[in-house]
Symmetry: C2
Subunit: 362 residues, 2 copies
């Protein structure tokens, strides 16, 4: 199911095999929360060498509802994306939609639908049923993510519940064609992080996620937590750092042995005009670009850099034209997928240090 | 510059030659007001066989400004669309932005920039300079369009000024590579419409537009005005019905001898979920489509109909996903360009009546 093909110090290149195919790691997943990437269609995601995306089981369960997805025989047909799809359980979205009022108990999560006010309960069993009905390649466990700056007691409770949920998810997950990943929590407390990583690793998951990071903690703290996590997880399992991130964060994490990433960072930044280039970040909204005939990044081979000037993209961005959001999103995701290709190659060629220097602008 | 190649009663198929190439008429122009079509990039416009688009000289003059467009050596390079571009002068946008307070005089149009409050005057001479700097294939004259339900006196004044402006535009238009189209007004008063059509036809324009229609009058009234206009214009000139429209309106107008169209109708409708199909309009937001595995139009060959179900498009539309707007826009414009192709073929094959029946659902 997961095979490490190359190693370079702690970083590794591998292949994840799922129901839809084989995917080279490390990879980065654009976010398609409601079964759609913002502004890009599936052909465009394919053009930029995307191998996997992540959607949100909880939101799809509410809308369009499982009946619609089942009628399509799963999310791949529904959205016409035939490669890898992860589904997150969506506990975090529930908290967010309920203004982070704590609705968790040891049984799961109670919440009110933001669409019609109806009451729902997400137990681990229910979450497994939802994700199996959706038919994703990889289902994520229900977890409780403590917010950054929670007290030790709060993190302990959330981590304890995450462990309860993990055991229940293993018990109730039935679809042998769907992979199941556990999620370790522990906040930024080294001992809790180590304990949770060990506990989740002790269960028969197909992969393990590092949850509750990239939520506001300093980069050094995140790196420390990644290190502790990886040290307490078996080498052979694929490791997924949820919600990360920037090129710098991804390079740091791959160096420590992480295989899988997802984040809204590149797409959200694109919509705010912040572009990724070989020389670092570029704010296309700045007036210096108003008359520039240069491409966003002269070293980039994407269709946006090949076809449009900074001046044109500046104009679209300032005029709030949807085409601007689309082109900037496309460029940033192309940059990320190119970064991931280079990371895979650097690991195979044992040239990780050179690659780190190449991306020194971040 | 314009050659009629086929005739079928009053309808005709022809070829318009501009600085960028030869374009078969009748054609329909998607609107790219600020040098961008909503949600679609130029590759996608090309995919659906778009030959021409229309942009707005006045808005481009304000933003990004002529310096930026000149630096790109014209709008074609600026937006990377190498086929035909019309520019409207933008008088109508000025009125709209200034809440239709009448700022016209016999000299032109005074207005305050919506961006920085600066004062500007658009004289016919200035408008010609702007459109030449933009470098469009076809420049439209400055005109004064009376609003629907204006009094006879108001329409008379607007038409008189439109004629003054037309004479000035002819005088000040210098770029021999750019075509110049006049615009006839006259509201819905038959005698004024006839008089204006004659007057504009008497000037040495490369083409003639029917202005001030599709602004709220009943279809029968519009048809009457088109008839009067065409009867008072020379056969050999290309005729452009501005701001039209729906398939039904376009078919009616082509039947009377109109060659060129533009409208936000198909793209705006798409964003509201109203889709064009071979069986008439379809509201994708209706709950009947929530679980439908059908394509939008089983007779449509566009990539949206080939790849997505109504249920998925319903979901995107209800969830306000930008991808929904993009896919629905793409389908509607594909439908329009297919309609125009069929119209050209029907004229060549003398099968206009059969085509009218095919589109009887509208």
């Amino acid at each position: 199911m997961f095979k490490i093909t190359h190693k370079s110090n702690k970083s590794r290149a591998g292949i994840l095999r799922t129901r839809t195919g084989e995917y080279e790691t490390p990879f980065f997943m654009p976010v398609a929360t409601k079964a759609a990437a913002k502004y890009l269609d599936v052909n465009e995601l394919g053009e930029i060498n995307t191998s996997a995306i992540i959607s949100n089981a909880f939101l799809l369960y509410l809308k369009p509802g499982l009946d619609v997805i089942k009628k399509h025989k799963g999310i791949h047909n529904f959205m016409n994306w035939k490669k890898c799809i992860f589904t997150d359980s969506g506990g975090f979205q529930v908290l967010s939609l309920n203004n982070f009022k704590d609705k968790f108990s040891d049984n799961g999560l109670k919440f009110k639908s933001p669409f019609d006010g109806s009451l729902h309960e997400l137990t681990p069993k229910k979450v497994m049923e939802i994700e199996e009905a959706i038919g994703s390649d990889v289902a994520m466990c229900l977890d409780q993510m403590p917010l950054y700056n929670s007290s030790r007691e709060q993190v302990e409770q959330a981590t304890r519940r995450t462990h309860l949920f993990a055991e229940q998810c293993v018990k109730y997950h039935k679809d042998s064609k769907q992979l199941l990943f556990g999620i370790a929590q522990g906040g930024t407390f080294p001992d809790l992080r180590a304990e949770s990583s060990k506990f989740i690793s002790s269960l028969p998951f197909d992969g393990i996620a590092l949850g509750g990071l990239a939520v506001g903690e300093p980069l050094e703290k995140m790196k420390e937590m990644i290190k502790i996590s990886i040290e307490n997880m078996p080498e052979e399992k694929p490791k997924y750092l949820m919600g990360v991130g920037s090129p710098k964060e991804i390079i740091e994490a791959v160096e420590q042995g992480v295989d899988i990433f997802d984040s809204v960072w590149p797409t959200r930044n694109a919509r705010h005009g912040s572009l990724l280039t070989s020389e670092g970040e570029l704010d296309i909204g700045k007036s210096i670009h108003k008359t520039s005939l240069l491409p966003v990044d002269k070293n980039c081979n994407c269709k946006v850099c090949k076809n449009y000037t900074r001046a044109y993209l500046h104009h679209l961005h300032k005029a709030n034209e949807p085409l601007g959001n689309k082109l900037l999103t496309y460029h940033n995701l192309f940059f990320m997928q190119t970064l991931m290709q280079k990371l895979r190659k650097a690991i195979k060629d044992s040239k990780f240090e050179e690659l780190k220097q190449e991306y020194g602008g971040f």
